[in-house]
């Protein structure tokens, strides 16, 4: 069994562009759910408007940096559109509206023809050349043996992890202020915050917009790395993956999203490698799991891992146990 190869693949996945982008997206979700208690079930929509805002703008002839700005601005508008009608209502309405509008938005993007703004199911490709033209790394492979990245990937990773560090720092800094204290109070009991003179609605809206804009950055990063946007990349499962790794890392912990994402992508790729190797060497009979089942089985294993985590460490890897215990009182 090529154990080194499996491990190298797993580490490459854990530090790869998807891990970085999902970590960024989850930092945004952490602002919503972890700190403010907003049940945003349509987070993937923020990634989509970020990605499409960028791609469409470049497709129309503008430079990439302008596209990225449009992408973030689109997420701000989406945050307001989600929040203004629903944030005065009970928490579950936001969940209903976000999950539904995310799908509506995706269907609209998908329904255009080849010549429409979004190019419908065909999506938009090759809009991020500006980004790769800036790549300072010369051609080649970077790393050791099988644990290596191309100069392209390395450039994406450098930018991706830098953005992650910056947004994590920014959110941590904002949350440690009196502003963050109000958000946490709203998470605990919004009526208490109201009774003390806090405009709960305004804070929820700010939280939704800030987290959404961070989600858009993740969407932009993924789109740039793939040089492609396509409506079917933004299915609701993306939101739930972000929730899975937020809970894994610890909701409300500042480094939770980064750690959760690294662990998640490691486990996904590691189980994938182990199962495939096991089947290839005949240790796992194909009558039990065939190579075509591996993709599904690894998600089952992740589900099992999350269940065990909830039973034995409900606060996640970095969460505070005392806080979870207080819920039981």
């Amino acid at each position: 069994m090529d154990f080194i190869g499996v491990l190298a693949d797993a580490f490459r996945s854990a530090l790869g562009p998807s891990a970085a982008a999902f970590a960024i997206a989850t930092v945004g979700l952490n602002v919503h759910y972890g700190y403010t208690g907003l049940l945003n079930f349509g987070h993937v929509a923020f990634l989509m408007v970020g990605a499409y805002g960028t791609a469409i703008t470049v497709d129309q002839g503008a430079p990439l940096w302008a596209g990225a700005l449009v992408g973030v601005a689109a997420a701000v508008v989406l945050g307001l559109a989600f929040g203004l009608p629903t944030l005065r209502l009970r928490a579950d309405y936001l969940a209903i509206v976000t999950i539904a509008s995310g799908e509506v938005l995706r269907t609209i993007v998908r329904s255009g023809g080849k010549d429409s703004l979004t190019h419908g199911v065909f999506g938009i490709q090759r809009f991020a050349d500006d980004f790769f033209d800036l790549n300072p790394f010369p051609d080649g492979r970077y790393g050791w043996g099988k644990f290596a990245f191309s100069e392209r990937q390395l450039w994406v990773l450098t930018v991706g992890w830098t953005v992650l560090i910056l947004v994590t720092w920014f959110v941590g800094h904002a949350i440690r202020s009196p502003w963050g204290r109000v958000l946490r109070a709203i998470r605990e009991d919004e009526d208490a915050a109201r009774s003390l003179g806090k405009n709960v609605f305004a804070y929820k809206l700010q939280s939704l917009v800030l987290g959404g804009a961070i989600g858009a950055l993740a969407g932009i990063l993924i789109a740039i790395e793939r040089q492609s946007v396509n409506p079917d990349s933004y299915l609701p499962v993306g939101t739930f993956t972000a929730y899975a790794l937020l809970i894994l890392g610890g909701a409300g912990a500042n480094l939770g999203p980064a750690l959760g994402s690294i662990v998640y992508w490691f486990v996904i790729e590691f189980t994938n490698g182990v199962l495939n190797e096991g089947i290839a060497h005949g240790w796992i009979p194909t009558s039990v799991i065939d190579t075509t089942d591996v993709g599904a089985v690894r998600f089952m294993l992740v589900g099992l891992a999350l269940m065990l985590l909830m039973i034995f460490r409900p606060q996640g890897i970095l969460g505070k146990r005392e806080e979870v215990l207080l819920d039981a009182r």
């Binding site: 009196p178 405009n199 009182r329």
Partner: protein, 284 residues
């Protein structure tokens, strides 16, 4: 501080005018389905007094609190606080105007420290605005001042040793104290306490009453809900009794206790209470 008016000099009659009212209620009306929860024709709360709001279960005391603090909207009627009409304003605006409430079921923010509970309540914090909050220098001085005030209050309420603990670890009585102390951080003119003694260890009731009295000494007006008449007698300057949404009597404690309508409301005999005849029967 203005002169305190003597409650004994005022007529004991529901809806009577007070010499220096801080809160004036005018025709406040609220129904839930077919049930009239609050129907207060006229009620004035005098500044600088401790006013008790009593009445049997379901009398509309808490609903009246919810209306006054913006947590619920009246079907009709108005109320003004310190001369300002606050009808229809949201809870945060009413709190900022100087009328702060506590809750019957305490709302301590259990996953925040006792100190954070206190600091949260500070009014007009620069660091609570997005933008300035990112520049620590712009709010640090204000935060320190708030911390000092919070420590003073926590000392007064004997919670200062718990400042770093999660509020969720406090006992029921301590949570009531924390909620009261936290409300004071807003620097209110009128504090509305919804059953501050409910669910509190009897040994703590005396000390809670002492704290309520201290609020008055500090120049604040207090309106508190309580349905235990014995608790009310010793501490309040004025008592307002509600039943089935109406104010049926008000006056100094001794006068209200002797009132036959109040006795009827508490004992549940309505035969000689005219207010019951004109209204639909309470389904409960």
């Amino acid at each position: 501080m203005p002169v305190e008016h003597d409650p004994a000099a005022i007529e004991s009659r529901a809806g009577v005018d007070k010499p220096d009212p801080i809160l004036v209620i005018d025709g406040l009306y609220k129904t839930f389905g077919g049930l009239v929860a609050v129907d207060v024709e006229r009620l004035q709360v005098e500044a600088g007094w401790i006013t008790a709001l009593i009445g049997p279960n379901g009398a509309g005391k808490t609903t009246l609190f919810n209306l006054l603090t913006g947590f619920d909207r009246p079907g009709r009627g108005r109320f003004s606080f310190m001369g300002r009409d606050l009808t229809g304003q949201g809870p945060h605006r009413i709190a900022r105007a100087g009328m702060v409430r506590t809750f019957q079921l305490t709302k301590s923010l259990s996953k925040m420290s006792v100190m954070d509970n206190m600091l949260l309540a500070g009014a007009d914090q620069r660091g609570e605005r997005f933008g300035p909050n990112l520049v620590r220098r712009s709010w640090r001085a204000q935060e320190r001042a708030l911390e000092e005030r919070a420590v003073e209050l926590l000392e007064r309420f004997r919670l200062v040793d718990m400042r770093a603990e999660y509020a969720g670890t406090l006992s029921g009585g301590q949570r009531k104290l924390l909620e009261m102390a936290r409300a004071l951080m807003v620097r209110p003119q009128l504090i509305l306490l919804d059953e501050p003694m409910a669910g509190v260890n009897p040994a703590l009731v005396e000390s809670l009453l002492g704290h309520v009295h201290a609020l008055k000494e500090g120049g604040m007006s207090v309106l508190f809900v309580e349905h235990d008449m014995d608790v009310v007698m010793g501490i309040s300057d004025w008592v307002v009794c509600m039943a089935e949404g109406l104010v049926i009597a008000e006056g100094p404690p001794s006068a209200v206790v002797a009132d036959p309508m109040v006795r009827a409301a508490y004992l549940g005999t309505r035969a000689d209470a005219p207010m019951a005849a004109t209204r639909s029967a309470d389904p409960r």
